[in-house]
């Protein structure tokens, strides 16, 4: 008996392979998106940690300095006065390959004679061989991995070129870094090892060290060394551990990662709806069969088991496929993730994904769990229903319709709950719970909305398009048990599209406005940097004097921006010239402009809104700045709007900065011209002044454009996710509608028999699906707006600390509506085509 049962179950999907396939694809897509984001994030993070670990080696402690690093004299004192032999100086920087595509290469300047205890894999050949000795004796000598050498086209002993800070630099490969460990080998890729003197020269860091790595034993001698170190370290030099340092760097991307994860979870929610939809549909379709089986004496438990097994097979296959798809997708997303991190946060060189246990595990659990949860309700339903009722479809539809208002109220309550949670609990996790409650609530309200919309549309449809349209409207309502979930899934996907679209538009609007306010100079001069929106690369000496001396210039504003370490994530420090003319470039979130500027020029600082929110700082508080003179608590006199970095910005006059930091460098210049001057001509003039220096000279317009371009680039990944969510939804709606319509072959055959021609059948089917698309689209409009509101005013503010303007963009709504309807219509084509092709008599033959 059981065998027959299994066979009957097996036969179902075999007869409808496309339906099973779509269910599998639905699960797979949901899982794929989630794990792809996870893997891409994890790969970028691991690549960063691994390369950090490789360049940190076995150091127990690290000395780091201010913006200008550590004076190298400190190293002499550590060696000669403290006598800590296990100390190694490091000068770091980045180069770009001249290959296509370009590679970012990390330059690690070391003292080979100090390396042995720290990074044995970087000084191969027993510490002295393998080209390490040549590092000391041969100018511009480098070591690199075989992979990097291949990428750069470098051969031993031959010069090869890279770009450092915009300038071409020749170097000579004198040895290859080789290791048997695959992970280390990967960390060695894109790494250029060179002597510290060469690195200092290449990177313009003569006289300074970026850090000093130390190995301090944990015994009494170590304690003595620490005490001694404390007495010789200048105030700006700090001792930290490599872990702390790497952590505070990776924490910079926390908000970014959380947001990506949230978006990927949205895709999973859509995916869950798909699974739920597919499984519900599979049960609903089989109600007659199940009823028959029940009548034949198959128990509830056996029915439930049957359904569960079938669902599990779909879940397992879908999850497996999803893992495979996700890995492929991760490779595609990795580039986008890495580019955003490089644009905004820090340099990470990562070209291949790293598969780790957790993202895959998460994918498997989510895929199986979501499938089973989605499966549980229809299974329970199928098993529970008395056999007599099961056989009657109408009973089920009636039941569904009775459920609609209940569901609607529940949905409203859920949405309300979501709103309150987001409004009242200012934590990122709560916000996401709130957003989820809002989304699910909206899904539950969708059936009510469907009934309501159909009631509204029906008279109009009949009047405009006649009987067929009226039939279509009625059909949508009468088959609610089959349509509701599909419509809800499509609605959520479309709402996500609207929400993300509005969020990006709002962000863009705000930033463009802000750029117009703040970017005022006519021409900007800066040094090329790898991290696009960070300007900590110093300008070559003399640029300021030369530019200031040019005729036809009103004034030149100086900027020095550096990353300032704090106890947690680093903060951007900007020192600048501020004259009265510049006051209008600031928009204040807090503080009185009349009081801000006198205090700013005296001893106070101003901070950006994200910093204020993140550290709960207000006007009147102080911010403790780690300076080369030690910690200095500076009063905060104003909080300005800033959308440059969510890490936060502190601003101070450049004169004061130079008192507190031994850093005479400038990062950029803002050149102001007389009102009628041609700024593009001045760009050319300034470029001509420095024919051999790598300088970025940009007009106001170019800078603004490139800033917006970077912004758009950072949203590229958001757009991809949005697209993926839409695809998932489309697959869902396609699966649901196709299945639903095909199930009605007999009904359509009847209609054909009583005179409906194929053209009218097409009309009927497409009207139905189109109407469902319309409902989904209409409901998605307010829901998407609410989600956008949540994203813009709650989630963005909590994770990034930004106050954004809401950009109401009608075209986003229009696009969403059209997308919903077109997706639904497209989903109707296959069934319409198939149904119209079938001869009525054939369609009427039941079995």
């Amino acid at each position: 008996m059981m065998r027959v049962l299994w066979l009957s179950t097996l036969r179902w999907p075999l007869r409808r392979p496309w339906q099973a396939l779509l269910a599998i694809v639905g699960v797979a897509m949901g899982v794929a998106v989630v794990i792809a984001i996870d893997i891409a994030n994890e790969s970028a993070r691991r690549a960063f940690l691994l390369s950090t670990a490789t360049v940190t080696g076995r150091a127990t402690d690290q000395l780091t300095g201010g913006p200008n690093g550590i004076p190298e004299e400190v190293f002499r004192r550590i060696r000669v006065d403290v006598g800590l032999r296990e100390s190694a100086p490091v000068v770091e920087g980045y180069a770009t390959s001249v290959t296509t595509p370009t590679h970012t290469l990390q330059i690690l300047g070391i003292d080979p004679l100090s390396e042995a205890p720290f990074r044995p894999e970087l000084t191969p050949g027993n510490g002295l061989g393998g080209g390490v000795a040549q590092l000391l004796t041969q100018p511009d000598a480098v070591l690199m991995s075989r992979g990097t050498a291949t990428v750069l086209g470098a051969t031993l002993g031959q010069p090869v070129y890279v770009t450092i800070a915009g300038a071409r630099q020749a170097m000579v490969l004198v040895g290859l870094l080789e290791t048997n460990d695959a992970a280390t080998q990967r960390a060695l890729d894109d790494l250029l090892i060179t002597d510290i003197s060469v690195a200092q020269r290449w990177l313009g860091k003569v006289g300074q060290l970026d850090r000093i790595d130390l190995i301090i034993p944990t015994d009494a001698r170590g304690a003595a060394v620490r005490t001694q170190l404390a007495t010789i370290l200048p105030p700006g030099v700090r001792m930290t551990t490599p872990t702390q340092r790497a952590q505070s760097t990776t924490e910079m991307t926390a908000s970014f990662e959380i947001n990506l994860n949230a978006l990927s979870l949205l895709a999973l929610v859509v995916g869950m709806f798909l699974i739920y939809n597919t499984m519900t549909f599979a049960v609903v379709q089989r109600r007659p069969l199940l009823g028959t089986l029940r009548c034949l004496g198959v128990s509830q438990g056996e029915i439930a088991r049957l359904m569960l097994v079938e669902g599990s097979v779909i879940a397992v296959l879908g999850t497996a496929l999803g893992i495979g798809l996700g890995i492929g997708l991760a490779q595609l997303l990795l580039g986008l993730v890495a580019r955003t991190i490089n644009d905004i946060y820090f340099v990470v060189t990562v070209n291949t994904i790293t598969l780790t246990f957790w993202p895959l595990f998460k994918g498997v659990v989510l895929g199986l769990l979501a499938s089973l949860v989605a499966l549980a309700i229809p299974t329970w339903e199928a098993a529970r229903t008395p056999p007599r009722t099961v056989l009657r479809r109408s009973s089920y539809e009636e039941q569904t319709r009775r459920l609609v208002p209940v569901l609607g109220w529940l949905g409203l309550a859920s949405m309300l709950f979501g709103g309150v949670v987001m409004w009242q609990i200012p934590f990122i996790l709560a916000s996401y719970v709130g957003l989820l409650a809002l989304t699910l609530g909206a899904a539950m309200v969708t059936p009510v909305a469907t009934v309501a919309v159909m009631a509204l549309v029906r008279p109009l449809a009949v009047r405009l398009f006649g009987l067929i349209a009226g039939m279509a409207v009625r059909d949508v309502v009468t088959s609610l048990s089959r349509t509701a979930v599909a419509v809800a899934a499509l609605m959520i996907a479309v709402a996500v599209t609207i929400a993300v679209g509005l969020m990006v538009a709002s962000f863009r609007l705000t930033v463009v406005d802000w750029l117009t306010t703040t970017i005022r100079a006519d021409v900007f001069v800066s040094a090329p940097a790898i991290t696009a929106n960070r300007l900590d690369t110093p300008l070559p000496a003399g640029v300021y004097d030369k530019v200031s001396a040019l005729p036809g210039i009103d004034r030149v504003r100086r900027y020095r921006s550096t990353m300032l370490p704090t106890d947690t994530t680093p903060v951007m420090q900007i020192a600048l010239d501020v004259t009265e003319a510049d006051h209008a470039a600031f928009l204040w979130a807090e503080g009185d402009p009349a009081q801000i500027w006198p205090a700013f020029n005296r001893d106070a600082i101003i901070i950006s809104e994200p910093l204020a929110l993140r550290h709960r700082l207000h006007v009147g508080d102080t911010f403790t700045m780690r300076t080369d003179r030690g910690d200095v608590a500076m009063p905060i006199v104003g909080v300005f709007y800033d959308y440059g970095t969510e890490l936060g910005v502190v601003m101070q006059p450049i004169e004061r900065y130079q008192q507190f930091f031994d850093d005479p460098h400038l990062s950029s210049l803002g050149v102001y011209l007389p009102a009628d001057a041609d700024s593009e001509a001045m760009v050319a003039t300034i470029r001509d002044q420095f024919p051999t220096t790598a300088l970025l000279v940009r007009s106001n317009r170019t800078l603004r454009e490139s800033s917006v371009a970077i912004l758009d680039r950072t949203f590229a990944i958001t757009n991809v996710l949005q697209l993926l969510a839409t695809i998932v939804a489309f697959v869902g709606i396609f699966a649901a509608l196709t299945a639903m319509q095909l199930e009605r072959v007999r009904e359509f055959g009847m209609l054909r028999a009583i005179g409906l021609d194929p053209r009218q059948l097409w009309q009927l089917v497409l009207s139905e699906t189109g109407l469902m698309g319309l409902v989904a689209g209409l409901v998605a409009l307010p829901v998407g707006t609410a989600m956008a509101w949540a994203l813009i005013f709650v989630i963005n503010r909590i994770s990034f600390g930004w106050t954004l303007q809401f950009a109401f963009e009608p075209h986003i709504y229009l696009n969403a509506l059209v997308t919903a309807i077109v997706a639904a219509l497209l989903a109707g084509i296959v069934p319409a085509w198939r149904i119209a092709r079938v001869a009525p008599a054939l369609a009427l033959r039941e079995e």
């Binding site: 190298e72 004299e73 190293f75 002499r76 060696r79 000669v80 006065d81 403290v82 006598g83 032999r85 003292d111 004679l113 100090s114 191969p124 050949g125 027993n126 510490g127 002295l128 061989g129 393998g130 080209g131 000795a133 040549q134 000391l136 004796t137 041969q138 100018p139 511009d140 031993l156 002993g157 004198v174 040895g175 290859l176 080789e178 002597d195 510290i196 003197s197 060469v198 200092q200 020269r201 003569v206 006289g207």
Partner: protein, 385 residues
């Protein structure tokens, strides 16, 4: 005069320029290669006798490719517990200081000179031997040498004099389990080795070094082993040598003896071993009697006979277990026995150098003493020519 092996490890920095990358350096280097490949153009050569002047000559001689400050000593604490120490700083130029590098030095790390230092301590009663090695370049003052006031240092390892005449030298070095803090009395006139300080090592003008010794420096101070400080007194020997190239291709190793005898005389002997096992005729030494009179010894004057064998448990290299030293001209016939068999230095280029006891006869009178023995060119495995 010291080990060519150590000398060799000093020249690696120059030699490496011509070596093929991506293979362990030591395996590629034979003495001949190093000498042939190294471009010594631009360096000064020890090609004629010179006028020595002290304390100026305690300082560095930058025109020459390599140079070393070599201290060995036999010490005892109040209870008679015996110790030995070796402290050496080698200077090795990457390129002649007179020749400009292709890149104008902008960075303080663009130095043209590397320093290497060895610190070894022998605890005879404890049967312990400690040896450490360090490298630095002459950047930022993390290593260097200067004449006035005299100082030669690498990190916090240093020998320095606080007075302009360098009459007293303070030797301070600590690493791992051991620490030395010694006062060396430098009031005896140096012994100029070879031909008035020009020590020919092989055929050809310039294949020589400038070489002087201060054989008997009264030494007091503190020697610490694993936290236990010993107040020690004894005698130290300072060897100073600088050159640009000295050895011939078939000279594969040497044995060097620095001996304090209890009649107040000091002996320095070395013999250069050739590839075929014979002793090179450029071997030699010197004898200074208690009155300070110096006798130069040629290879014909000295007899050095290895006795027995000791195989290193660390490298598997086999060294002579002890030596029979005869100087017929002086009627000296003594055995030289290591105070500890295992005084092999586990450093980049392995060699044996340690404290020895000397016992025998001079002119049929019993005589004894102590000193230091260095044996090089025995260790196998990549470091043998």
């Amino acid at each position: 005069m010291k080990s060519f092996w150590i000398w060799l490890s000093c020249v690696w920095l120059c030699v490496a320029c011509g070596a093929q990358p991506a293979a362990p350096l030591q395996t590629q280097l034979t003495l001949a290669e190093s000498l042939n490949r190294t471009d010594m153009t631009g360096f000064l050569r020890a090609d004629k006798p010179r006028q020595f002047s002290f304390p100026a000559d305690h300082g560095p001689h930058d025109g020459y490719a390599v140079e070393w400050w070599y201290y060995t000593g036999n010490l005892r604490d109040v209870s008679g517990r015996e110790f030995g120490y070796q402290f050496t700083i080698f200077r090795s130029a990457f390129r002649p200081s007179t020749v400009n590098a292709s890149v104008a030095p902008q960075s303080a790390w663009d130095g043209a000179t590397a320093y290497m230092a060895h610190l070894a301590v022998t605890d005879v009663a404890g049967q312990q031997f400690f040896a450490y090695e360090r490298f630095n370049r002459d950047a930022l003052g993390i290593a260097g040498a200067q004449a006035a006031p005299f100082k030669v240092w690498l990190d916090d390892w240093q020998v320095a004099s606080s007075t302009p005449d360098a009459a007293q030298m303070q030797l301070r070095a600590a690493h791992g389990a051991v620490a030395l803090d010694l006062q060396l009395d430098n009031r005896m006139p140096p012994v100029l080795q070879g031909n008035a300080g020009l020590s020919q090592k092989s055929a050809g003008v310039g294949n020589a070094s400038y070489y002087y010794s201060v054989p008997r420096m009264a030494t007091t101070g503190t020697l610490t082993i694993a936290g236990q400080a010993y107040q020690v007194t004894g005698t130290s020997w300072m060897d100073r040598e600088w050159s640009t190239s000295a050895l011939a291709a078939d000279q594969v190793g040497w044995d060097w003896f620095a001996v304090h005898l209890d009649d107040g005389s000091d002996v320095m002997l070395y013999h250069l071993r050739r590839r075929d096992g014979s002793i090179d005729s450029y071997s030699g030494g010197s004898w200074r009697d208690a009155s300070g009179k110096v006798t130069t010894l040629s290879s014909a004057d000295i007899g050095l006979q290895p006795v027995g064998q000791w195989t290193s448990p660390h490298t598997g290299a086999t060294y002579p277990a002890s030596w029979q030293m005869t100087i017929t001209r002086l009627g000296l016939d003594v055995t030289v026995t290591p105070l500890l068999a295992d005084q092999e230095l586990a450093v980049t280029v392995r060699y044996w150098e340690g404290a020895v006891a000397v016992k025998g006869q001079r002119a049929n009178q019993p005589i004894q003493g102590n000193g230091y023995l260095e044996m090089t060119g025995y260790a196998d495995g990549g470091t043998r020519p």
